[in-house]
Amino acid sequence: MNINICKDYTDTPGGRYISQGEFSGEDFRNKLLMPKYIEAVKNGEKLKIDLDGGYGYGSSFLEEAFGGLIRELKDNYKQALEIIELKSDDEPSLIDDITQYIKEEIKKKK
């Protein structure tokens, strides 16, 4: 299962919350990330997410999308790092950032 953020969602990601304007991390999580993640878990598949091609990401967008995914999930959050596979050739450091957001939220839930 794949998500190409630039093609499937937007090349101009916004801020953290829907209330802050278009293409927020919260909106991306609700519309794409969460449903695809749940489907990937159900099918026992990987969820490949391509971050390349856009103009850039604010850290609040990424934190709310990925950290928020863990905060919102009741079950199946512990294996998030095994299910989600990130690609970011434009900005390789984003992979570490997102991994960190996910790890921190998993740790808080324990």
Partner: protein, 253 residues
């Protein structure tokens, strides 16, 4: 009447602040003000005013508007506007001869600034209704960015420790220190949520990486400069002005 007849110097931040006052719906609600104005006699300043985008917000004859590709005309908004951030990145890349990959830090910075305005810069005590403004100028050896909001200001909104609150009441603390502290990511987010409040630290980190130069922030009484002296001003600015530059040599690296 805004009499600009004798004006000999003018900057983008001054024009944006003037706009926030003139466009302020909160003020207009109480009494309708009809603003009138004239143009500076000084030719250079006259041209700067006409090309700044300031007049796009006024009723004026078409011939008074100069669209120069040396400026990204003043834009304002209330929410995050990815399209404006994108155009500013494209303007920058066009002037520097760089591409989308180069300007990612700039997009990130603009995102944080635009969303911060909606989140933290205003409350019920604000004189103005919330709005951010941005103006970009292409100079000979650098591109100059000015972002402004007319909210309640960073020193007012940052979370303070008990003794700092006492010092604030007694005017013992310098306000620029709160900006320095918020930039360095010391836990000052108003929301008290650990995963939030990354906007100013992200901007500081972009500056530390050398992507931008001359980061300067004016907010309430604080005048913070990353590269020069910081101090407190004698008069208060209601709101926040962020200024930074990108040297044209950066694009050649």
């Amino acid at each position: 009447m805004i009499n600009m007849d004798e004006v000999e110097n003018i900057t983008g931040d001054a024009l944006m602040y003037l706009l926030t006052v003139m466009k302020n719906a909160k003020m207009q609600k109480d009494r309708k003000i009809m603003w009138k104005g004239n143009f500076p006699k000084n030719e250079k300043i006259n041209k700067f005013l006409k090309a700044s985008g300031f007049l796009n917000y006024m009723k004026t004859a078409e011939q008074n508007l100069i669209h120069s590709d040396e400026n990204f005309e003043i834009q304002c908004g209330k929410l995050m506007q990815g399209d404006i951030a994108k155009y500013i990145c494209e303007f920058t890349n066009n002037k520097l001869g760089t591409n989308r990959l180069f300007s990612k830090f700039l997009y990130k910075m603009l995102t944080e600034l635009m969303t911060n305005t909606k989140d933290h810069a205003y409350n019920k005590q604000s004189t103005f209704d919330y709005c951010w403004y941005i103006f970009v100028e292409n100079d000979k050896d650098k591109i100059k960015y000015t972002f402004m909001d007319n909210g309640i200001g960073i020193p007012t909104t940052v979370s303070k420790k008990f003794y700092e609150k006492i010092n604030e009441i007694l005017h013992l603390d310098k306000q620029y220190k709160y900006i320095a502290s918020a930039l360095k990511g010391e836990f000052r987010t108003e929301t008290k949520e650990e995963h939030r409040g990354t906007g100013l630290p992200d901007i500081y980190s972009i500056s530390e990486n050398g992507n931008i130069n001359n980061l300067t922030i004016i907010s309430n009484f604080a005048y913070y400069s990353k590269e020069k002296n910081s101090y407190d001003l004698e008069t208060e600015l209601e709101g926040t002005i962020l200024y930074w530059e990108i040297n044209k040599l950066e694009g050649e690296k």
